[in-house]
Amino acid sequence: MKSKLQILKSSRFWKLSYLTLFFFSLGTLQATAINDQDLADVFVTANLKNAKLTEVFTTLENQTHFTFVFDSKLADASPSITLNAKNESLALVLKRVGAQAKLSFTQINNTITVLKGEIQQQIKGRVLDKEGVPLPGATVKIEGSSTGVTTDFDGVFTINAGGAVVLEVSYLGFSTKTITASPGDEINITLEENVNALNEVVVTALGIKREEKKLGYAQQTVTSEELLNARPNNWSEALRGKVPGLTINGLGGPIGSQQIILRGNSSLDPGNNGALIVIDGIPIQNEFPGSGASNAYMGGSASTDTPVDFGNAIANLNPDDIENISVLKGPAASALYGYQAANGAILITTKKGKEQSGLGVTITSNSKMDVITRWPDWQYEYGQGSGRGSYLKPATDSEGNPVAYEDRLYYTYGASDDGRSTAGSSSAFGPRFDGQYYFQYDPELEGQSAERQLWRPYKDNRKGFWRKGLTLTNNISLQGGSEKGSMRASVTHTKNEWIMPNTGFEQMSLSVNAKQQISKRINLSAIANYSKRKSDNLPGQGYNNHSIAYFMIFQNPNVDLDWYRPIWRDGQEQVDMIRPYSSFIDNPYAMAYEIENSLNQHSITGNFQIDIELHKNLSLMLRGALNMYNKNMDQRRPYDINRYARGYYRKTNVFKNEINTDFLLTYTNSFGDFDLTANVGGNSLDYEYLRQDSWTEGLEIPGVYNLVNGSQLFTSKFEGYNKVNSLYSLVSLGLKDFLFVDFTGRNDWNSMLPKQNMSYFFPSASASFVVSELAELPKAIDFLKLRGSVAQVGGAGQYGNRYSTSKYFSRSDFPGSAVSPHSLYNTGFKPEITTSTELGFDLRLFKSRLKLDAAVYQTISKNQIFSSPLPNSSGYSSALINAGSVRNQGIELLLNAKVINTPSFTWNATLNWSKNKGKVLSLHENAEEGRFEMLSSSSARLVAVEGGSPAALFGRGYERSPQGEIIFDADGFPLMTDDIIYIGDTQPKWVAGFINSFQYKNLRLNVVIDGKYGGVIYSHTHHKLTQQGKLKHTLIGREEGVRLGEGVVLNEDGTYSPNTTAIPIADYYNVMYPLANTEANSFDASFVKLREVTLEYNFSKKLLAGTFLNEAAVSLYGRNLAVISDFPIYDPEVAGLAGGTNFHPGVEVGQMPSPSEFGVNVKVGF
């Protein structure tokens, strides 16, 4: 019997688009035995349980125009068949029947011949990339079965198939392709390289690789290429501008420690905002063992030295070994990391070996030059002089006639016939350079010159101190593998000469990554990274007598840098330093060559992992990981510098050891339309941080740095231990291909918390809904996914909160002494709770030519553990409490367009934009006036304000009239507020990045532009340079000698009238921009940067064909090439350093120049 053809086009209100694509591709195949067109276009419905084969065929015949021809023996021998199909194509139905009954089918016109399926035949093929290069190690799988093979070194595979099958071909970094093939076929399969393919596998929490479409939260992958395109010293610098919602607080300097912030500041503990760093599945504490000073401003308290950046865990990593970085922005994504996950996570996967054509050797060589291109706008028109009071010549001449201000100025180094010495002043309010002659410093005489010398500026007397930085990085990596295992080893050497003379570092990194299948069910893998970093000198940071930033401020236009060059007075080596001017100014060459901070560091990270397949649905992972380093840091201070008349020497040793042991049990199975993955895991963290400092004040023999040589020796020791045990579970459910739901739960036991609160549990849930799999969407839409998540994580705050549950007396420098703590302990503090909700979508249009990923989120962090200020009369200045609630809300957009996509030319543009708004919902009941001061440096304070930003800039400002004009007193001096006032939010309004990649044949050009809009930054350097008349804007009013402050005076009757009293020029810049006036020295932190430009030429395979090379590329690149910003000093992005532990953006206290970088990179593979 033949039934009517049923083409159910009209009755089908949905039709899965991917099926359309699928059949379209089927239709293009040739030389197949089956006329797929027919079978695929015929749709049948069947609901049979344990049916006989004949029954099946009858059912199908009734619905189609086909007739089945078969041997009845075959039918009798066949097992009973269960078939459940609703409007499915006959092709698919037959495949399922064939699979159950081990049969195959051949169609001739309207007849389908049924054959025994045992006749296995081979499909042969070759997997290639777009350029025709074979892809070894690609996986070829028969869809719906467990049969699969991998391609050999020539990309060739053979696979057995009983009949026509759908092959699924996948290769990491390429989009997976499905193709129908029949036994006997010989096919070439070309895979398209695609980073953001629909089914791209990405790394998620715990290192679990999952298809991106299944994720219910925002995740972004940054590839190795993106990191190395325009290689900076610290790889994390290369994340700038590439990930919406990601900001970086950095310091500048050779090593450039950084803190990565995702989605804004959520913690009232400013050191507790950084994202968790996870390397190969192992969380790494990103502690910052800087030197002891608590503040960049004057080195904190008097007894501490200027801070030095010795690098943190992020800075230690070698970017050559990074395969990719997965950014998990919200707690939902990182919930499985529990107590550390509140600020999101950065998952770093290092490179593994893979099968490779050729030897598998890759060599890269990178040379980079750093050139400072942005300087403060220093003036070189007027020279040294206080320009005030007793350092002016008399106001009237001998005949009593008034003398013009300009003519009252003079200069003399040491008192002379010209007048009292003016060379003690650090200011540049002295006489104009007009070709006149004065007694000046004579480097030969080391004092006043014998004759008057030409009064001239030395325009290169700051810039000339700096040099071109040079970084050479060479990497060689070897890799190879087979079906059973692979290995990769890499050696990298980096030598950096930083822009400051005699500073920089050298690093050697070794990395081994191996995996091996040791039995059918057991895989072993191990990773070991060793690095040795050494530096003879790292620069002192901040604003302090012996920081170079301090010298750059105090240097005067009329002073030749060369005068400082001998460092020591003749015959007084190591004893008497050349410091011809104010005693505040230490010799800059001493800062480079004598005041040294050296580092010698060994670090090892690694892990060992066993994966056991317990059952086809159940696997177990066991892992142990180590993160260990030993740092030796020396600080040498010679005689005769400001802080130490007789020198100082400090040796610091930090040993850190962090051990994580994990297990993860994974169960996967499918139940009809449902896929289930369930994970149960556990982690134990054992953390040990030992720091030993020994120092001496005063050296018996000058210039000998040895503790034995010290006049008095001090030591201090810190041991930090903590431990966290965790159990967690992740359950993922998938419904067909369109709905994915995750649930996680985690319980931590954290030693930092009081006993009764040590254990805490937090859940999360997320869902992903692929609309395009389910609904008929306009043709242009290829893919639409909606996602949403809710998560809660708990934490114990910073590891520095350990030992906070009991009272401890701490050491003081006095022998046999101990003093009371300033922070009140807390026997009952509880874990912090961060709750986040997130919604987003992922939309791809026009065959993925246009992609838009958007997310909105809200994160509320409450119950925060932080130090709340107490009235000092209570005996403590702060108490560790649980309080406060901070909300962050934001939007993140990522728009990607393949603007031009022709075979020879492509232009790929990515625009990312993010906006985050932080708001303090509540503080502690005792917070002063709804404010909580988190940091104070120079005159700027970083304050959390109830109802406002969690990182607002406060300080004193101008007293202003109701119209907003500055109020001056009767003498023409501006009034300043008595109290600190709100200056602005240090957090930007939005951040954006624009990445453009152009490819013309083998030539690639990559351009990254990024910027920030909004936010304020305080500049201590601006205050000081203005006060001292060293910036060009202080030239206004020089000739007149006075300047009128723009504003009003308050009259006795309460009205305001314009200020008419001009004040002396030197006073003007002092009182308009004093240290205390934070407002006057704060700037809009908005900027646009030309962040990266890379031009790469990739030698084609054809060109290399005759050589031993199989890969070669040369690139030229630049970083930070141009900046547009109102910020008057070097870089609107460089943060200050607060103590050994915190970076804080928005406050600049003695900034280092940040150079533009120019590099060339060569890569060859053979």
């Binding site: 008097a302 007894s303 007793s390 010549k393 008192a415 016939d417 007048g419 009292r420 505040f584 400001n642 369930a678 149960v680 556990g682 004040e697 005063g698 006049s711 008095q712 020791k717 041991e719 903590n722 431990k723 045990n725 159990l727 739960g745 319980n747 036991w749 954290n750 030693s751 006993k755 040590m758 350990r802 030992y803 009991s806 009272k807 401890y808 007396f809 050491r811 003081s812 420098d813 006095f814 022998p815 046999g816 002494s817 101990a818 003093v819 009371s820 009140l824 200020p869 107490l870 009235p871 000092n872 009369s873 209570s874 005996g875 403590y876 108490a879 005792n926 002063e928 109290d979 004093p1074």
Partner: protein
């Protein structure tokens, strides 16, 4: 799903006990002490208070008393009585911080039955509260330093009560000393564990504070006289060998309060009042304290101080530099007096001048001599033949010399000026506060904010948080 959840929870419960067995031990700080001795904090307390005092003397005391002032800046000029709101912040914080240490010291002394240390703790407590209350008026005392006991917001105690308490404590301290018992812990940096010197300090301080409150405290003068007449029961300083003057050796950790000595004297100049008087005295301390003024061509002009009314009385343009504080004063070895023998002598001189003791002139001259020798200069012969220095029977004369004796001694010269109005200092119309010497410091901003209710109650009681409000003993 449900089963799994149960399984997970079951597993968790199962390992719960093993998950945190030794966690409390791990969270015990191996770096710091959970218990201290009565001697543990003594040196840090002495050093912190003294160095703070030296810095505040430069910043406030010396300016108010026209000793030396900044010459760069007349915004928020302390010498013009133009105070920033937070002028007392660091004094407040330092003193309360050390009072916490003093409290721990007292607790340990009582616990370990060490009466000498208990007496020292009581003495330091009295010393610290006296400076606080004399600076501010009412300050927290009864409930202070008790955050650990749960009092995060201490009430302010009235000055009268504070004085009653500290005088009582000093009396008790005197009775506790037992010179037979040695002080067992590390040598203290002030008296090197000499119990008898500590006892003299207790009684000398007792006299200072009795005298300060004498206008309000009935019987104070009589009691002072009784103390002075009974050195067996109330031993006090009898020479510079006894005095409470901290020797800053420069050997770490006993370092100068100014790690950069130029922070002490840069942009600081002496006032005419200070220089002119010493010049008139022909005082050998002058070259110790001050540099000489220089002309344009390095000619020596001798000692010249800046008149307080320098806007109307400017110095001649021919003067290149006027007299400035010698940097050496801030370079170790240096001294920081807590209380000098000279002060005791001047107290006795005042009592005698008021008719409660005899031999006013002897006490006066002993005071002057001690004040000179404290700075390592000896009394020139004929020093008192000068009409400017000879004892003339007036309190003015005593207080003028006491003023110089209190150079470098925290706020004492200012307190004494508030008590006596002496010495009379020149004024200028540029001065705020109606040209009146301020009677106190503002309460610190932090305290006003963080302890707001109690702050408000105290301010209401005192009549305002103004620098013109007189404290109890000053009324």
């Amino acid at each position: 799903m449900k089963t799994l959840k149960f399984l997970a929870i079951g597993l968790m419960v199962a390992v719960l006990s093993s998950c945190s067995t030794n966690f409390e031990e791990i969270n015990t700080d191996p770096n710091n002490l959970q218990q201290i001795t009565a001697g543990s904090s003594l040196n840090p307390i002495l050093y912190e208070l003294s160095t703070h005092n030296a810095i505040q003397h430069r910043n406030i005391g010396a300016q108010l008393m026209q000793m030396f002032i900044p010459n760069q800046d007349n915004i928020n000029a302390v010498f013009y009585y133009d105070f920033v709101q937070n002028i007392g912040g660091s004094t407040w914080n330092t003193y309360y911080s050390e009072l916490t240490n003093i409290k721990e010291m007292e607790k340990a002394a009582v616990r370990d039955e060490l009466p000498n240390y208990e007496a020292i703790a009581l003495t330091l407590k009295a010393y610290a509260y006296s400076i606080l209350t004399d600076c501010f008026g009412d300050v927290p005392m009864r409930e202070a330093a008790s955050a650990e006991e749960g009092v995060w917001f201490p009430e302010f105690t009235e000055q009268e009560e504070i004085y009653a308490q500290i005088l009582e404590d000093l009396e008790r301290a005197n009775s506790l000393y037992d010179p037979a018992q040695a002080m067992p812990y590390v040598n203290d940096i002030l008296f090197q564990n000499d119990v008898s010197k500590w006892q003299k300090f207790t009684n000398s301080l007792h006299m200072r504070l009795l005298l300060r409150a004498a206008n309000r405290e009935s019987g104070a003068y009589t009691q002072l006289a009784a103390m002075a007449n009974n050195p067996a029961q109330y031993p006090v300083f009898t020479s510079n060998a006894d005095h409470a003057v901290l020797q800053i050796t420069g050997e770490a950790p006993v370092l100068s309060p100014w790690s950069r000595p130029q922070d002490f004297n840069t942009f600081r100049v002496y006032n005419a009042f200070f220089i002119d008087n010493l010049k008139e005295f022909k005082d050998p301390r002058l070259p110790v304290f001050s540099t000489e003024a220089m002309g344009l061509n390095n000619e020596n002009y001798g000692y010249i101080g800046l008149p307080i009314d320098y806007r109307n009385e400017p110095l001649a343009d021919s003067i290149a530099t006027i007299s400035v504080p010698r940097q050496q004063l801030a370079v170790a070895p240096l001294i920081v007096p807590l209380m000098s023998y000279a002060e005791v002598a001047f107290i006795k001189a005042e009592l005698a001048q008021r008719g409660l003791l005899t031999n006013a002139q002897d006490h006066y001259e002993s005071g002057v001599e001690a004040a000179l020798t404290m700075w390592n200069v000896s009394l020139p012969t004929g020093y008192f033949d000068n009409t400017a220095t000879a004892y003339d029977g007036t309190l003015d004369r005593i207080m003028l010399q006491k003023y110089f004796a209190l150079f470098f001694t925290d706020y004492q010269a200012w307190f004494e000026h508030r008590r006596t109005g002496l010495p009379q200092l020149p004024t200028t119309a540029d001065m705020k506060n109606n040209m009146e010497m301020p009677s106190r410091l503002y309460y610190p901003i932090d305290e006003a904010d963080r302890n707001n209710q109690n702050y408000k109650a105290a301010v209401e009681r005192m009549g305002g948080d103004e620098i013109s409000i007189k404290v109890w003993w000053d009324k």
